[in-house]
Symmetry: C2
Subunit: 363 residues, 2 copies
C-alpha cells in the first residue's frame, strides 16, 4: 500500500456482476488500478469494456485489497483461495448476508485478521455488469463488520474503499446486520411476492382495476427468483422469524374480518395493525438515509410533447426554485399529463405563481 492518504492503489474485484462492476467503475474514477475476475469470461469482458478495470491474471503482483463480489455461500472459499496465493494484502466481500461467510471463513481456517466482511446497500432491480454504475453507492449505507481478530489496517483499507465509492460506512455486528436486512429487505421481498402471487391467477377484470398502490407493494416481486433464493437461503432464520410474525398479524386480521363478515363485529385488530403500520412506515428514513423529508408538491398539467418539461424547468430556474423530485403521469390517448414537482415547502407558492404567470395550468 502506498503512502497515499486514500490508502488503496490497487484492487482486485472477484465477480463482475452489478455490484462488482460498479465498484470497479467507481474506483477507476479515482485512478485506482482495478483488476477484474469472474468465472464467466464474457462478464469480465463486458466489465472491462465498460471501463471497470482490466482482466486479472492469477500470479500477478499482489493488490492492496481484494473485493469478493460473489454469492454469499462462495465468499469463504474464494477468500481461502486468494489468501493461499497472497493475491491481496486485505480482503472484503459485498454479500448481502454477513454471519454465514464469516462463519464459513473461520471454519475453513482463513486468516481473519486481513478480512473485513462488508455489504453495500445498493441493489437495483436490474442485475449484471451492464446495469453497473459508478454512482450506485453514492450516499448509500455500506455496512462493514470488523471482528475481534481484524487488523486495524484491514479496517482502514475497507473504509478507504467505501469512501472512494461514495458510500456511508456503517459499522455493525454480523448478526445485527443479518437481522436488519431481513427486516428491511429480505422479508419485505417475500411478502411482496406473496401479494403478487395472488395476482397470477386473477381475472383480467380484477387486474384492470389495479392502481399505483398495488404496483408499489409488488414492485420488488419482479426480482430474479434464483438470485433471491440464494440471498434468502443465506439468511434463513432471521427471515423466517419476521415472516412468521407477518403471517400471524395477517392471520389475526383475516380472523377479525371473517368475524365482521358473519357477525358484523368491529375489526379492532385490523385497525390496530394499520396503526402499527403507520408507525413503522413513518420511521423509514428518506431517500438517502436522512430523516424523512416533507417536500411541498406543486402540480402542473403538461402537454405530452418534447420540450414541455424543458419550458417548465426553465420557469422554475428563473424563479430560483430547485426541483427536488419529479413524478410524471400521462393519461393514455390524451395530450395531457400531470407533473408533480417536489420542492422545499417555502418555495412552493412562488413556483406556482411563476408557473401560472407563464400560462401553466396549476390546479
Amino acid at each position: 500500500m502506498s503512502d497515499d492518504p486514500r490508502g488503496i492503489d490497487s484492487v482486485l474485484v472477484v465477480g463482475t456482476g452489478l455490484i462488482g462492476t460498479s465498484v470497479g467503475l467507481a474506483l477507476r474514477e479515482h485512478g485506482v488500478t482495478v483488476k477484474l475476475a469472474d468465472q464467466d469470461p464474457a462478464a469480465v469482458r463486458v466489465a472491462c469494456e465498460l471501463g471497470a478495470g482490466e482482466e486479472w491474471t492469477a500470479g500477478g503482483p499482489r493488490v492492496d485489497l481484494a473485493v469478493i463480489a460473489v454469492p454469499p455461500q462462495f465468499v469463504a472459499q474464494w477468500l481461502l483461495d486468494l489468501q493461499k496465493t497472497e493475491a491481496a494484502r486485505f480482503y472484503t466481500d459485498v454479500a448481502s448476508v454477513k454471519a454465514l461467510p464469516i462463519e464459513q471463513a473461520a471454519g475453513l481456517g482463513c486468516d481473519l485478521s486481513s478480512y473485513v466482511a462488508g455489504h453495500p446497500l445498493a441493489g437495483r432491480e436490474r442485475s449484471g455488469p451492464a446495469a453497473a454504475r459508478a454512482d450506485v453507492f453514492l450516499g448509500r449505507p455500506w455496512a462493514y463488520c470488523p471482528g475481534p481478530e481484524t487488523a486495524p489496517e484491514a479496517v482502514r483499507a475497507v473504509l478507504s474503499l467505501i469512501d472512494l465509492c461514495g458510500g456511508n460506512a456503517v459499522e455493525v455486528a454480523p448478526a445485527a446486520h443479518d437481522e436488519a436486512v431481513a427486516l428491511v429487505s429480505h422479508a419485505p421481498h417475500v411478502a411482496a411476492a406473496a401479494v403478487a402471487a395472488r395476482l397470477a391467477e386473477a381475472s383480467d377484470t380484477a387486474l384492470g382495476l389495479a392502481g399505483p398502490g398495488v404496483r408499489d407493494v409488488t414492485r420488488v416481486a419482479g426480482g430474479d427468483p434464483a438470485l433471491w433464493t440464494v440471498i434468502l437461503s443465506g439468511n434463513a432464520r432471521p427471515v423466517a422469524e419476521i415472516l412468521e410474525a407477518v403471517a400471524a398479524d395477517l392471520g389475526r386480521a383475516a380472523a377479525a374480518l371473517r368475524a365482521a363478515a358473519v357477525e358484523g363485529a368491529a375489526i379492532d385488530p385490523v385497525t390496530e395493525l394499520l396503526r402499527r403500520g403507520n408507525a413503522g412506515q413513518s420511521r423509514i428514513p428518506g431517500k438517502h438515509g436522512g430523516p424523512p423529508r416533507s417536500y411541498a408538491v406543486v402540480q402542473v398539467l403538461v402537454g405530452d410533447r418534447p420540450g414541455e418539461l424543458a419550458r417548465l424547468f426553465q420557469v422554475a430556474k428563473e424563479a430560483g426554485v430547485n426541483i427536488e423530485d419529479v413524478r410524471l403521469e400521462h393519461a393514455p390517448g390524451l395530450p395531457l399529463g400531470a407533473a408533480e414537482l417536489h420542492v422545499q415547502p417555502e418555495a412552493a407558492g412562488g413556483l406556482a405563481r411563476a408557473l401560472r404567470a407563464h400560462g401553466w395550468h396549476v390546479p
Copy 2:
C-alpha cells in the same frame, strides 16, 4: 335533463372529500352546474372556494344526477333520503365497495331503477377536499354496477358522468368488483401494513439500512387507519380470504426457511413463491390501465441546483425526444444526483449521444 348530448346539466355531490370535490372540479370544467353538500360545513366551503361548485340548499330544483361520495355504510341512507325529496333524477355513489351499499339500499326500500352503484379507482395518498384535482380520474378505471332493475337512462347518466370526468367506464357485477378490489387494493394494503408494523420496534441501525425496496412495499401503509378500517369493514370476507392465502404462503415460506436454517435443506417452496410472485407482478397493467410498457432508461448525473434539469430537458427537446417519466435521486451533502429519464427504447441512444455532446455525464 336537457337534450345536450352530454346528458347531464346539473349534479349534486354529497360528501366533499377528495373524490367528491374532484368530481365537482371535473364537472365544472365542462360547465355542468354543481351543487355541494357535506355534513361538515367547513369542507363544503373549501370545496366551493376551490371552484368545485356552489353550496346545495335542500328543496331547490331537482338535479339530473346525485353523486353520493360518503363512506360505504352511509350510502344507502343518503340514497333513501335524497330519493324521498326527489333531489335528483338519477343517483350513483363512489364508495370503494359495491355489494354492501346495494344490499342496504334494497333493504331500505330505495328505488333501484334510478340508482347505479359506481367506484372511480382514483385514490391518492392524501385525502380531503384540498387534495382534490379535476384530473384525478383521467384515464383511470371507473367501475359501475347496473342491476337488473336499473333503468337504461340511469346508466346513460352515469356513463356521462364518467365520460365528463375522463374516466374509463368498466361494467362489473358488485361481487366481482369487491373481490377485484380486495385483490388489487384492500389486501395489499393490509399486507403492506403488516410489513411496516415490523419496523415500528426495529433498531435505528436496521432502519438505517433501509433502501428503496422496503419504501415501495410499505408506502401505502402510511394511509389513514380510520378511513381504511371503514373500507376493509365493508369488504370483509373477500379481503379475509386473500389475507388467509397470503398468510399461508408466508407460513410455508417461513417453515422452509426454518428447515433450511436447521438442516441446510433447499428452500424450494420459497423459490416457487418467488416465481409465482414474478408471474403475478408481470400481469399488473402499466400506469393507466394499458399493458405494461418498457421504456428505456437513460441515466445522467445532474447538479443539485436550479436550472440543471431545465438545461437537460432542453437538450432532449432539441433532440426531438419525449421524456415519458423522470426519477431524480439526490445524494445528501453531495452536489450531484442521478436523473433517470424514461424514453421510448428507440430514442435512448440518440438522447444519450445528445446529452454527452452537450457535456453531460451519462454513465
